[in-house]
């Protein structure tokens, strides 16, 4: 849950990038890190294996400017996508304010996308959240690959909640900031709604 600090006049929110193994969650954060003004970002932490697969999480703190005199700070986390790291994924979802689901557009990864999305719902429910009720956006990554599934097909299978969705290519950066902005907006709108 967000942390509102009246003393330092800051709002801190936690955003989690979820998705199947090798879908590009870490690459999303790496791109954001590489393109953000050094004054606005902290150090990016990657707890990864020797072969650069995410072992526990990646972490990137970002400042997005002021809103009503409060500095907005977003903490971006990724989960390890591989199926057997489920215990770690559950831990990272604790206290989440918004979720980005990064789907792998390749036709042969459709099953993995569906399994991961299902896993997200189950793990959120265990923490007392409903995917339908929290800020949530979808990113269809790897649109540049020749074997990517048609957008309509991905939408039909993955975006049943009709949430904001974006086509992306995390290695070139296409759609990366659009995704981040959408989830950040949704988190702030949710904060506004909950304050009423």
């Amino acid at each position: 849950m967000s942390f509102i600090n009246y003393s330092s006049r800051e709002i801190n929110c936690k955003i989690v990038y979820y998705g199947p193994g090798l879908c590009g969650k870490t690459t999303n954060l790496q791109f954001i890190y590489s393109k953000t003004n050094p004054d606005l970002k902290g150090k990016m932490i990657s707890l990864a294996t020797e072969t650069e697969r995410t072992l526990f999480f990646d972490f990137l703190p970002l400042a997005l400017g002021q809103i009503r005199g409060f500095k907005t700070r977003f903490h971006l986390y990724t989960v390890p996508g591989q199926v057997f790291y489920d215990a770690s994924r559950k831990l990272i979802l604790k206290g989440v304010d918004g979720v980005v689901f990064v789907a792998d557009s390749q036709i042969e990864r459709m099953e993995a996308n569906l399994e991961s999305l299902d896993n997200l719902k189950v793990n959120l429910r265990e923490q007392g959240y409903e995917l339908e009720k929290i800020p949530f956006v979808i990113q269809y990554n790897k649109r540049d690959l020749p074997n990517s599934a048609p957008l309509e097909e991905l939408r039909r299978q993955l975006n049943t909640l009709n949430v904001p969705d974006f086509e992306a290519c995390a290695t070139t950066g296409q759609g990366i900031f659009e995704t981040l902005k959408a989830v950040a907006k949704s988190v702030l709108s949710d904060l506004k709604r909950l304050s009423r």
Binding site: M1, S2, F3, I4, N5, Y6, S7, S8, I11, N12, K14, G42, K43, I45, L47, F56, F57, F59, P61, L64, G65, I67, R68, G69, F70, T72, H75, A87, S88, K90, L91, I92, K94, G95, Q127, G128, Y129, K181, A184, K185, L188, S189, L191, K192, L194, S195, R196
Partner: protein, 163 residues
């Protein structure tokens, strides 16, 4: 069970700061940090220059979460106290009131025994402050008092992303 949102006002911050500043002195510590279980830094005291406090907060929360998971696997509810010994500096990490993490950095000017003793007292005081803090948040929520965030407009949010 979902956590409630953490809201901290200036007077709460001052109380927390007073407790950890005293802990720095009493335990001969280099630095003390209070971290929310979700990885947000709440307060810091002592010699903290050169320490990446944001990373420290996030990794501490990750570590507490991971060892909490391990505890459950072997039938424990939690491992509330962690101690990491280094060549020069050591870390003493305590979970307070199941919600807040108290991190003490110390070197050979202090000792594990002294840190443990002082942390126990400070932890008790922090637990009381945070209990009061969550009661206050519940009261505010129940009273329907206006929050500054209720006034946020769509334009405010758009302006954040204008560049």
């Amino acid at each position: 069970m979902m956590d409630t949102q953490l809201v901290m006002y200036e007077e709460d911050y001052k109380k927390i700061l007073a407790v950890i500043q005293r802990l720095v002195r009493d335990a001969n510590a280099k630095g003390v940090f209070v971290v929310d279980k979700n990885g947000q830094l709440v307060a810091e005291a002592g010699e903290v220059r050169g320490i990446d406090t944001t990373s420290l907060a996030s990794l501490t929360a990750g570590s507490i979460a991971a060892t909490g998971g391990l505890a459950k696997i072997i039938g424990e509810e939690d491992f509330p106290v962690h101690f990491h010994q280094g060549a020069r500096d050591n870390l003493h990490i305590t979970l307070v009131a199941k919600r807040i993490i108290l991190v003490v950095v110390f070197d050979d000017r202090s000792s594990l025994g002294l840190v443990r003793l002082r942390v126990k007292k400070a932890g008790g005081e922090l637990a009381k402050i945070f209990e009061e803090l969550s009661k206050k948040a519940e009261r505010e929520a129940a009273s329907g008092a206006p929050s500054p965030f209720a006034e946020i407009t769509d334009d405010d949010i758009d302006n954040l992303f204008s560049d």
